[in-house]
């Protein structure tokens, strides 16, 4: 499944074990990749980069059951989408950057009129889409900036 997107050019594995800091730092949605470079030095995480024709996937795994986070970056180095999978939610403030406030506002609004319980979440704010699905100890999701999706890239590839 992932190899489907690895039909591209390069596959680089960079495992950085420089520091014992918790692996909470990711490049944020909408941000540039400089922070990914910085993270590599600080995180006790493995970063796999796969280049496809339209974007690059930076996959970060911290091991031992922590969520795997995949960041999708344009050729220009902007993170236009993130996907995650693991036993608990990733740190959304870190991951969503400026879009975190939209998530917070949307969940607060939804709580006012909640009838669905323990149900998947779909948030469609202007320009920003967030999905959370799965169940306890097996959670997954994605978020992306609609207008930054490169031409020809479908949402289904963000996983």
């Amino acid at each position: 499944m992932w190899s489907r997107y690895a039909s591209g050019l390069v596959c680089v594995l960079v495992a950085a074990f420089a520091a014992m800091l918790p692996a909470r730092a990711f490049a944020e949605l909408g941000g540039d990749l400089k922070s990914v470079q910085r993270d590599r030095a600080r995180m006790k995480a493995a970063v796999t980069v796969r280049q496809t024709e339209r974007y690059a996937i930076h996959e970060m795994t911290s091991g031992s059951g922590s969520p795997t986070v995949r960041e999708f970056a344009t050729p220009g180095g902007r993170v236009f989408a993130v996907a995650w999978q693991g036993p608990f939610h990733p740190d959304y403030k870190q991951l969503l950057g400026p879009y975190f406030d939209q998530l917070q506002r949307a969940t607060e609004q939804a709580a006012q009129q909640r009838r669905a319980r323990r149900a998947p979440v779909m948030i469609e704010a202007p320009g920003f889409v967030f999905q959370s699905f799965g169940h306890a100890r097996s959670l997954a999701g994605r978020a992306y900036i609609s207008q930054m999706l490169p031409a020809g890239v479908s949402v289904e590839e963000i996983r």
């Binding site: 006790k44 922590s66 036993p87 939804a110 009838r115 323990r118 998947p120 999905q131 699905f133 997954a140």
Partner: protein
């Protein structure tokens, strides 16, 4: 009054259970006597489940299943309180109780390296429970889980530090009666612990699950399995390999409420065997496969805490979304559908189900076997992990559903599995 009635119902149910399994020839007094040689090791192992709106009148739980749980100071038989209306949840592990529902029971918070230990669980819908962890004896029917860690969900007015941002994480708190819509959650999934190895020492980071708190702030910490929230059933001395939940069939229009049974142990007593239930083992992610309309969805699961059947999306199913009830399906006429569930062990079961218009549910009713919503949304995204079946509480009506705990042996094999 309500409690007295509940106790009478439980007593009557236990009487019937026991009478059915002991040949019926004994006198009632022998059921209460410890000298009953036929079932010398048997203790009452079933409690009443009430399906209904739960205890919050301002924010009722559509399709909730609730039980009463007795909580005691470890080792004490007098310092106890019975908490009613605790959500019965096969989708999580561990007991969580609102601080305000404990009636001042003097439980001692656990510590981690000298700091108060706290737990945060954030669910798929981004609601979270936050609070201290304390050891308590947890009693259900005649079963006792002795001195297990439980979560004391923090009263927002208490002096306990508020949830750190890595716990709230963009979600909303479910730390009060009216946001949780229950007095607590009884997590009886197939997992032994609420977090497991991902939060134990040796991991890089446990995200925001366990914390060590000073008086003013909390830091993420790791916690050994022995100190994590444990599935209370796994901690019973016997009948500890799983549970079964039996709920009656419902009329198409639903009911205001109904009652059923939560039974402890699988094949450990004369009355809790698998019968002809089909065992479906879980894959490594705790999932089974549902085949619907010729397509296969391998991230499907069963969860009594989900209040509807959440599956696929409108483009895939042709079921329109509701105008009012966000996340639900609203077909103009009730749709009758079928699917097939298959475990990792290739054992299959057909499942027939119905989908009603959630925007026009009859007002006085709170339990339905035919409310459904989507697991995904937006453009059709065939093959995505967001396309799955979450078989929520509607699935449980008209069935006995078994949940076997990971690593525990049963007559149907070793858990984790579901059977029905």
């Amino acid at each position: 009054m309500k409690h007295i009635r509940a106790l009478l119902v439980i007593a009557a149910a236990w009487f019937l259970f026991t009478a059915a399994t002991c040949g019926g020839g004994s006198s009632p007094s022998s059921f209460l006597s410890s000298s009953n040689s036929n079932r010398a090791t048997s203790v009452p192992h079933a409690v009443i489940v009430t399906a209904g709106p739960g205890p919050s009148t301002t924010n009722p739980y559509l399709n909730g299943a609730f039980v009463d749980v007795t909580i005691c100071v470890p080792g004490s038989t007098s310092q106890c309180t019975t908490v009613p209306d605790v959500l019965l949840d096969t989708g999580s592990s561990g007991l969580r109780v609102l601080s305000s529902a404990l009636g001042g029971l003097p439980l001692t918070n656990m510590t981690s390296a000298g700091a108060t230990m706290a737990d945060c669980v954030q669910y798929v819908d981004l609601t979270y429970n936050w609070g201290a962890v304390a050891r308590a004896d947890v009693k259900l029917a005649g079963e006792v889980a002795s001195s297990i860690p439980i979560q004391i969900i923090a009263d927002p007015g208490s002096t306990f530090p508020s949830a750190p941002s890595s716990c709230s994480n963009g979600g909303t708190p479910a730390n009060t009666l009216d946001t949780l819509s229950a007095n607590g959650i009884l997590g009886v999934s197939s997992y032994l612990y609420d977090c497991g190895d991902a939060c134990a020492p040796g991991t890089v980071s446990n995200g925001g699950v366990y914390f060590a708190c000073s008086d003013t702030s909390c830091q993420v910490t790791t916690v050994p399995l022995a100190n994590q929230l444990e599935n209370p059933v796994a901690a019973f001395p016997s009948d500890n390999n799983g549970i079964s939940i039996t709920l009656p069939s419902l009329p198409d229009a639903g009911l205001p409420s109904t009652t059923g049974t939560l039974t402890f142990g699988i094949g450990t007593q004369g009355d809790n065997g698998l019968g002809n239930a089909v065992v479906q083992t879980e894959n490594n992610d705790g999932n089974i496969t549902t085949v619907f309309d010729g397509a296969s969805y391998s991230s499907s699961f069963i969860d009594s805490g989900s209040n509807a059947l959440y599956f696929l999306d409108s483009p895939t199913t042709g079921l329109p979304a509701c105008r009012d009830a966000a996340g639900f399906y609203c077909p103009s006429t009730t749709q009758f559908l079928s699917a097939t569930n298959t475990g990792a062990n290739s054992q299959s079961n057909p499942v027939d189900f119905a989908v009603v218009n959630v925007d026009s549910l009859p007002a006085p009713n709170w339990v339905f076997d035919d409310v459904a919503g989507h697991s995904s949304a937006g453009p059709s995204q065939s093959g995505l992990p967001s396309l799955y079946f979450d078989w929520g509480l509607p699935f449980f009506f008209g069935r006995t559903v078994y949940v076997a705990i990971e690593g525990r042996s049963t007559p149907g094999g070793t858990g984790p599995y579901w059977a029905y």
